[in-house]
Subunit: 283 residues, 2 copies
């Protein structure tokens, strides 16, 4: 595995790989890799000839007061995990090179970036779309793999890539969970033992929604009420949202309808904000 | 010369050209080609193996009440001019394919897009940066050629390409002028005979600024006053701005200083808005 931190060097290398006729797969991450990330790298490995994993804790997607400074970092460990999962190039640019003084260019996807996560984190998706556009233009991939864990991000990135005509296929890989259902996240390390236990209420809520929908409940008001009862029993600091959206438009619905609905949650336990979601088949 | 209107077809063709090892040069235009455009095509011809000229009257860079509907169009004539100047591919996408229903992704360069032209045309540069990003991603060029006539646009596009890491070199070609100094523009056809004559005051103003600076005048207040006197004698409907900027930062200056200053004008004659500029050496 080759480690590259220079943008120019990575771009020249990517161009050479493309000119040699090989397919590039990229997995953009913020590091502190877990099995969720390695599943993305393995998926890229299967669908391309050369796998580039990027590690960059992107300051522009953190709001003021968010956890940019304390976001967990461990490059030595990441190096081993990335290579074991099948990475050929580890791209680790510096903040100074990614965002030189006077940086002022942003990519925005209006509308869908302002709801749900975007409502609680107003500049978050602008930071995500801008950095992903940069990373795609630097690594020149045929495919880019993202996790379904960040469902709204995946939807927004697909829309960005389609609307700006980026010649990269976006692949979204399933959520990887702990044995008790908690979705893997680098932020799970923030949880105390007690919070970790209560955090399983997110997955339980999604399972409850799925069960109620299978048995005929179609009302989002009623589903939300049941989920709120379950979540409140786990004593969260705050429930940011419990939402049901049409997965093709990401518009919130009042009544769930066939064929599918996407249920999304954001819940805070202490200082830690967790998100989870589930694509539910509607009979 | 091959004419392509499908985005997908153009992108596949561009990828094949790149994979064959050839250099692509693109010249994005809104059509109604004149010698200004053909000079850009000729410059692309010299610096690349395959020249793509794009013709697309981009709705997102026109404001409400601007001249999108009446902007001059003549594809039959453009086809001949583009081919004669050395175009290999003429890319003429449809508005419906460039901006499908629900389109919501924009590229913005903050700050410099809001001054001068941006002040009088508030969403103009967002439309330009968005469409140029799309055109660059569709045509995959090694170089892209723009005209110095739109000096602020060229500065903004260079900043966008650098900050988003687009692997395309931006080349800016000199202004082409009529025998009496009027900068070529597709919009010159709007001018009545009388307006056409008075419009030479733009170039005369820039020449006056240059002469005053060569003879030692450094004060923008004094330069602006002299230019306003000259312009007013030509009875314009309105002078939008007379500005002097540092060409490296595009920041307005109060005192011109070595090595160079960029003088910019926007003046309306009747319903027609004309812009011009000159890079002036400062002794």
């Amino acid at each position: 595995m080759k480690i590259i931190s220079s943008i120019h060097e990575m771009q020249v290398e990517a161009e050479h790989i493309r000119l040699s006729g090989k397919r590039i797969g990229v997995v953009p991450t913020m590091g502190y890799l877990h099995r969720g990330h390695t599943s993305l790298i393995e998926m890229a490995r299967k669908q391309s000839d050369v796998v580039v994993t990027t590690i960059f804790v992107n300051p522009t997607q953190f709001g003021p007061g968010e956890d940019f400074d304390r976001y967990p970092r461990d490059l030595d460990r990441d190096r081993v995990l990335a290579e074991d999962a099948g990475t050929d190039y580890l791209f680790t640019p510096s903040t100074a090179e990614m965002y030189p003084a006077g940086f002022a260019t942003f990519v925005t996807v209006e509308g869908v970036s302002e709801i749900l996560e975007g409502k609680f984190r107003p500049t978050h998706f602008r930071g995500v779309t801008t950095v992903v556009m940069k990373l795609l233009l630097i690594t020149k991939p045929h495919i880019a793999v993202f996790g379904q864990k960040d469902a709204q991000q995946a939807f927004i990135l697909r829309k960005m890539v389609r609307e700006l005509n980026v010649d990269t296929e976006i692949i979204v890989a399933p959520i990887v969970r702990e044995h008790d259902g908690l979705a893997l996240s680098s932020r799970n390390v923030y949880l105390s033992q007690d919070e970790r236990r209560r955090a399983t209420s997110l997955y339980q809520s999604l399972q409850l929604a799925s069960a109620r929908i299978q048995s005929g409940d179609r009302s989002v008001d009623s589903l939300r009420k049941e989920i709120m009862n379950l979540l409140k029993a786990a004593q969260p600091l705050q429930v940011d949202y419990v939402a049901f959206v049409d997965p093709t438009s990401f518009r919130e619905v009042d009544l769930v309808a066939p064929p599918q609905v996407l249920a999304l949650l954001a819940v805070r336990f202490g200082a830690t904000r967790l998100i989870d979601n589930m694509l539910i088949s509607v009979p």
